[in-house]
Amino acid sequence: MTGAMPTKIEAAGLRPWIRQSMPLVALLLLMGLFSLLSARFLSFENLGNIAVQSSHIGLIAVGMTFVIATGGIDLSVGSVLALSICAAGLTMAPAESGGAGQGVLAGWGAGLLTGALAGGVNGLLISRLKLSPFIATLGMMSVARGVANVLTDGMPVEDIPEGALALGTGDLAGMPWAVLLWVAAALLGGLVLGWTRLGRYACALGSNEEALRLSGVRPGPWKGSLYVLSGLLSAAAGLVFLGRVSNAQPSAGVGFELDAIAAVVIGGASLMGGRGSMAGTVVGVALMGVLRNGLVLLDVSAFWQQLVIGVVVVLAVLLDRWRTN
């Protein structure tokens, strides 16, 4: 269930190890291919670009890994990202731009709180009212987008304070903040998935929730809190995104859920639950980022890009099935 657990590695032997590293091998092969086809690909600058451009999907995918490990899904991440951005933007933008002028920190706080709240609603609908995750988050996908549009009247919030742009464009000793945040979230996420009760219960929920319940563990709170986590990380991704595009658009994040789900699945998680690897997810996000970037460098049209990415996602899952059997 977790590539990182010592209990796994000891007895995993060679084959599971190969299995887990296959996405990485695919990523390296793809990078090799693009560096042969385009001289610009393997530059430090371009790789940095890929990392920054992947960071918001990377953050969302960390939360999505937990949700998918439980056998659930979170379709609302893109809309929650947009809603969080708008909440953050409205809190921090000056009054003349329609905001509250409360400053950057308050804005970030409002954004994160909004994401956590939306996730909390998902969690309650799923764990207490027993809605299927697909339905609950499908509803939230529309509701969050609707609220974002209502709050902003469908118009982007402009005049985002300078300080808020640091997350998207700034760096710490040459390392972009966006990438640092992604790396930190992934490391922490891996730790939680492999070495805490929350993470182990996530996989147990996905493998057999009834067995967990009959073992005396209340499944509801654990499951619910994972959707809060997903909402929170979507909001964090939104703050990074906000820093990059420098205005808060209620239409942001459309289709992000698909990229995040694809990355998690490419990384070796099963949509049936019970299995997920944070390292795999990071590789999955990188693979999607490299693919997009490489296709752009090769002047492949956006339409063809869509097609190629779809094929790659399906192939990755087929390959994984084949590896498993």
Partner: protein
């Protein structure tokens, strides 16, 4: 007379020198088998002895490495389940292969639906399904969905499907893999009556079960498999039970049911007036060191009793007390576990184990918080503790990180039991603890249960296997229609008394 017949006619199904390896594992290492028309042929063997592989070769799922299989003198097509079905070999597996939301008729004709002008011929399908259902003694409406049928009915629907296929192929071999695992005594009797009918009609049956009395009742001849080879074969009545068990296990199994010290008088679990819709009131008390057996027909409320008292289902009234602790009326499994109760549920796969997770993950599922320090789980300590439990329970595995789903049924059951050993539960509720478990592992599970009782725990054991209950329990509570029909102890503990109470025929034993 039957043997006279079988020696005269050539066997319908003949297997010679069958071998099959999966990688380094030799699953079949030389199986010979003869099945004659009009016989019930018992296939005996521990889990892992090769029964399933043999069945899968016969039903065309696996291609054998060596050996030959002939049906009615013709070689059997290998490696294609459809072909084997058409050739006349049909297997009914332990797990149901019914599609719940399709109708009974659609299930009976799945894959060979009658058609007219390219469209499904529902009228004919229902008509013919009805005939098949009547042959298995089911008066069901063929148009109703399978969902909502009882286990016994579902089983009979599968058998109706099998009979339909065999009719279409002009007779053949019907294999029943543990057909009675989920049936109550009177349903078993019914099934056996049907089997005897089909036998006189010339059907050949392969019958797999772990219950010796049942095999005695229905089996004509027997073949014992051990380590992938057939080690004994002959008429059923030519073997004593001990001989069969020895052939199966390869060593002597002396006492299936271990002896135990007498139970104390000190009640540990007390249940008063436990109620739910159509259930109860049920009151009972179990002392430290006691095993209370719970008997009853299917649907008598045995499983429900355990689930209600454990909080897995919501009770509408009553009190449950463990030692001095009274559980709340709205208890959940979490509260029951906190009070020292543990449940080994009847359905290992769906309620007991997370099959995809490791043995150790499953063993520590109820005590993960004990291995959590400063928020982090101590993986090494889990491996240590789990390894200890695996050794203590003699769970046969390579390593505790192996998925629980890769274990045999008996070993899986030991993992579920081990979860409560790990937690040191005081009251352990066992629901059909040996269902689908072979003789060797059964003896080990009985020993574990006896050991736990000897340590002063209170055990409640639900079972449809009466000899097992009589062998293990100090007292037996018999349920009928959601109520306590009576409690038997001492000299009253006989099969007849239990059955009389369970069916409500005759007075108290």
């Amino acid at each position: 007379m039957k043997e006279g017949l079988s020696t005269m006619a050539p066997p319908l199904l003949q297997v010679r020198g069958l071998k099959k390896a999966f990688g380094a594992i030799q699953a079949l290492s030389g199986v010979d088998l003869d099945i004659y028309r009009g016989e019930v042929h018992v296939l005996l063997g521990e889990n892992g002895a090769g029964k399933s592989t043999l069945l899968k070769v016969l039903s065309g799922v696996h291609v054998p490495d060596e050996g030959k299989v002939t049906l009615d003198g013709r070689p059997l097509p290998a490696g294609n389940p459809g072909d084997s079905g058409r050739a006349g070999i049909v297997t009914i597996h332990q797990e149901f292969n019914l599609i719940l939301d399709l109708s009974v008729a659609e299930n009976v004709f799945l894959g060979r639906e009658p058609r007219r002008f390219g469209l499904l011929d529902h009228a004919r399908m229902h008509r013919e399904a009805k005939v098949l259902l009547e042959r298995v003694g089911l008066g069901l409406d063929p148009a109703r969905p399978v969902r909502g049928l009882g286990v016994a009915q579902a089983q009979l629907v599968e058998i109706a499907r099998a009979l339909g296929i065999l009719d279409a192929t002009g007779g053949g071999v019907l294999t029943l893999d543990e057909p009675t695992a989920a049936l109550a005594e009177h349903e078993i009797t019914l099934l056996h009556d049907l089997i005897r009918q089909w036998r006189t009609q010339g059907l050949a049956l392969i019958y797999i079960s772990h219950r010796m009395p049942e095999l005695r009742a229905i089996g004509d001849r027997v073949t014992v498999l051990r380590d992938g080879a057939s080690v004994a074969t002959g008429p059923m009545r030519g073997f004593e039970d001990d001989e069969l068990i020895r052939a199966m296990v390869g060593r002597e199994v002396h006492h299936l049911y271990p002896s135990r010290p007498p139970a104390s008088e000190d009640p540990l679990l007390e249940v008063e007036e436990l109620q739910a819709p159509n259930f109860g009131p049920v009151s009972l008390a179990v002392a430290r060191g006691e095993i209370l057996g719970v008997a009853g027909l299917m649907g008598a409320g045995r499983t429900r009793l355990l689930r209600l008292l454990y909080g897995a289902s919501r009770a509408s009234g009553g009190r449950v007390r463990v030692a001095d602790k009274v559980l709340s009326g709205t208890r959940t499994p979490a509260e029951a576990v906190e009070a020292g109760i543990g449940l080994v549920p009847e359905d290992r796969k769906h309620q007991g184990l997370a099959l995809g997770l490791s043995i150790s993950d499953n063993l520590v599922m109820a005590i993960l918080e004990r291995f959590t320090h400063a928020g982090f789980v101590d993986g090494k300590a889990i491996v240590r503790a789990s390894t200890g439990l695996v050794e203590r329970l003699r769970i046969r595995s390579r390593h505790v990180s192996q998925p629980a789903g890769s274990l045999s049924g008996g070993n899986q059951q030991k993992v579920v039991l081990g979860r409560w050993l790990a937690r040191d539960g005081q009251v352990i509720l066992l629901d059909e603890p040996t269902r689908g478990v072979d003789v060797g592992a059964r003896a080990e599970i009985y020993q574990q249960i006896a050991d736990l009782a000897a340590q002063g725990k209170a055990m409640v054991m639900v079972s449809s296997d009466l000899p097992e209950l009589l062998g293990m329990a100090d007292r037996i509570l018999v349920m009928r229609e959601g109520r306590v029909a009576g409690i038997l102890a001492g000299d009253q503990l006989t099969q007849e008394n239990v059955m009389r109470m369970a069916t409500g025929h005759g007075g108290r034993g």
